[in-house]
Symmetry: C2
Subunit: 423 residues, 2 copies
């Protein structure tokens, strides 16, 4: 008999995602490891039983003082893994909405020193205490919506020391929230105003001053860059990423978000772990990403909340055999914290099926941030990170637009709901 300190019974549908290839492409995205009438058992934060409820009693013994929760016939899925967030920032840009309705684009607003540069000014000025407090509040709300692991990018300081300050907060936030956080160095989010007329010098500063210390102090797992006209050219991006790779970092690229400018092609050529956004990527790009095995990290809420005329190319990517992950892109430009909303937008906006969207938000997004061995699936031995919804099947998670989780567990411990912090 296996001993357990927590048993969850009466699961109408369990989707383990622990089957098939990782990352998953094409038809593999439809194999979700569904188990009807299931149960899971957890001991000391790890799954010790995952399977039909009918076998539970024969195999699992609940420790004295252990707990049992009946999920009421609901659906249980792995904790969501959010592979792309800019959670560390100060201030907000709510006032931009009226400008955008008047027709201004992200690039227009940034070009006038607003947008991203406004957030850079607020973030540079912000105290460490404020940055920690605001990011912690966001992460707790994300956790209440089912996120159990996520990536955190730097990118709103745009100085070597300021970017290091941001990255140094990530382990503190992980301790405070209990979430598994993966830090990504995004010093190349934009060329800061001080370097506006000499972007090469900023890239040199990143390569020479920032990256070595980021790596020496183990502040990041990945290096990312915003490859787009007006931000960093393909050549500049390549120079930075090659330096990062030489120091042992994994590689990501913000690619082809606003114009088709070669970011996805670069990601494929360098064999990056992921290329992100990809709104303007081409059929040729998709073939290149597929054959290089680069994961497309799609952010389906971002074009919607940016008044863009494009949708994330989810269907086209899956059909081309590209491994697809989805995330929030939480930032002051498109402030969304909820992975269930990302699932809904992955379906309605990016035309993934519900099963593909769930795969993209769990096992594939774990792969995109280097957590394949540790997050995104429900299996014996894995950390007991899971989300229960009061609906009969995984299809209902995007279908019930705005659905809130019933319960969220991280390492077998229940995550408190975010609602009503005052009560």
């Amino acid at each position: 008999m296996t001993r357990a300190d927590l048993v969850v019974t009466d699961i109408g549908e369990l989707a383990t995602l622990a089957t098939g290839p990782i990352p998953r492409v094409g038809s593999a995205m439809r194999e979700l490891g569904r188990i009807p009438r299931a149960a899971v058992a957890i001991d000391r934060g790890r799954f010790v039983y995952v399977g039909p409820e009918a076998r539970l009693k024969r195999e699992v013994h609940v420790r004295s003082g252990g707990a049992t929760w009946g999920a009421g016939g609901g659906t249980v899925v792995p904790g969501f893994v959010d592979p792309h967030t800019h959670v560390l920032f100060a201030g907000d840009r709510a006032a931009e909405i009226d400008l955008k309705i008047g027709g201004a684009s992200y690039l227009d607003i940034a070009g006038r020193g607003g947008g991203l540069f406004q957030t850079v000014r607020s973030t540079r000025r912000a105290s460490t205490a404020l940055l920690l407090r605001s990011a912690e509040a966001r992460l707790r709300r994300m956790a209440a919506m089912g996120t159990t692991a996520c990536e955190v990018k730097s990118g709103y300081a745009l100085t070597p020391a300021g970017e290091r300050r941001l990255l140094s907060l990530v382990p503190i936030l992980a301790r405070r929230t209990g979430l598994r956080l993966v830090p990504t160095f995004l010093g190349a989010h934009a060329v800061p105003p001080e370097y506006a007329d000499r972007p090469e010098a900023y890239v040199s500063a990143l390569v020479t001053d920032a990256l070595p210390l980021v790596v020496r102090h183990r502040l990041a797992d990945f290096c990312d860059a915003f490859c787009e006209p007006g931000f960093f050219s393909v050549e500049q991006t390549e120079r930075l990423l090659l330096a990062a790779r030489a120091l042992g970092l994994g590689l990501k690229v913000h690619a082809d978000e606003f114009v088709h400018s070669g970011g996805a092609e670069l990601a494929a050529r360098l064999g990056c772990r992921s290329a992100e956004h990809l709104l303007e990527s081409s059929e040729e790009d998709r073939r290149a990403l597929a054959s290089a095995g680069v994961t497309a990290v799609l952010l389906p809420v971002t074009p919607f909340a940016s008044f863009a005329h494009r949708s994330s190319p989810g269907r086209a990517m899956v059909d081309a055999g590209v491994p697809v992950a989805v995330g929030t892109d939480l930032s002051p430009n498109s402030w969304v914290e909820s992975m269930p909303l990302v699932l809904a937008h992955s379906v309605y906006g990016a035309h993934l099926t519900p099963g593909e969207a769930l795969t993209a938000a769990t096992v594939n997004s774990a792969h995109a941030i280097g957590l394949s061995g540790e997050a995104g699936t429900i299996a014996v031995g894995r950390s007991a990170d899971f989300v229960a919804f009061d609906v009969p099947s995984i299809e209902h998670i995007p279908y019930r637009f705005g659905l809130l989780p019933e319960r969220v567990y991280r390492r077998g411990i229940r995550v408190p709901p975010a609602r009503n912090p005052g009560s």
Copy 2:
């Protein structure tokens, strides 16, 4: 001194919506009655003070046993009024998502006897207890997201007796949930299969058998009809609506959702209270609606969740001077219960400003369902229906996509959060 049994202090921004013309068009939609550093006081379910916090102590005395809540500098707005819901139904249509991703339209699926007709079959078979239980659960979740009044349409029985059964549940649901509910007779939601080859006979049955009893038993305030090719022609819609008007009902039309077919023009010609959906309406329609004072009830989540290529024409309607309201359209076709999500989609999808979206979700939607005198504004003497959000201004409600209310009050009594029903 005014006596109060509840005082809410430390409101960073109060938007009363109690200013300017009702319904509001054009620039009037930007006058929100904003009061910074505000407070409200409530006694026996009604507002007795609405104004600056600085004057509160001089004017209001909290009764012994009364309560004070500090809103932490957050934003308070009127309880949302959802002017268009199909909350009474059985079953679900989650399985349609895969068909729709494969390219099938709402009309394709309905044409094959699925879609709406599947819901009609489930609803006809459902026990009254099941219908009440499922609708009550939906209404409670809606209330937890800030809805304090809403319209409820019949329309999934499509027999005179079955439609009356649905409408007869509305007052029971109002008593159980405490929400203010406005019933609308939508017997003309579709031509039922039994009448497929003789739609005129179904219209006759509605006019002769259904409407007189609906009115005699005061089962509905409004009559609505789905005016669209394959559903009801302009002539059939007009015949039904004229009969309803003669019996004293208010008039609504589901107009120009899938094709431009004359529904909006009819609504303007008859001077209906509202025309709803309007995705395919023309510039001429907008002029006609504006000059007839017909409220455009827009449902911005529906085209998104239906994979339609259109967005709700919010910007164009406001610019043409049409009074605009927004609602969920909660139904098994697009299952959304949250008015904050509708606000976000009103901005990002329909290009209303945040102020226009808030107006459309409160004072204008109250007008659309005949509640102008009773809901949608915060003013002394009004029922104390309000929503507090933990954000600094109303702009943040749509900006923070997926934002949950901090607290919701209906008649001065706190509405419980929907989350975690099991705990």
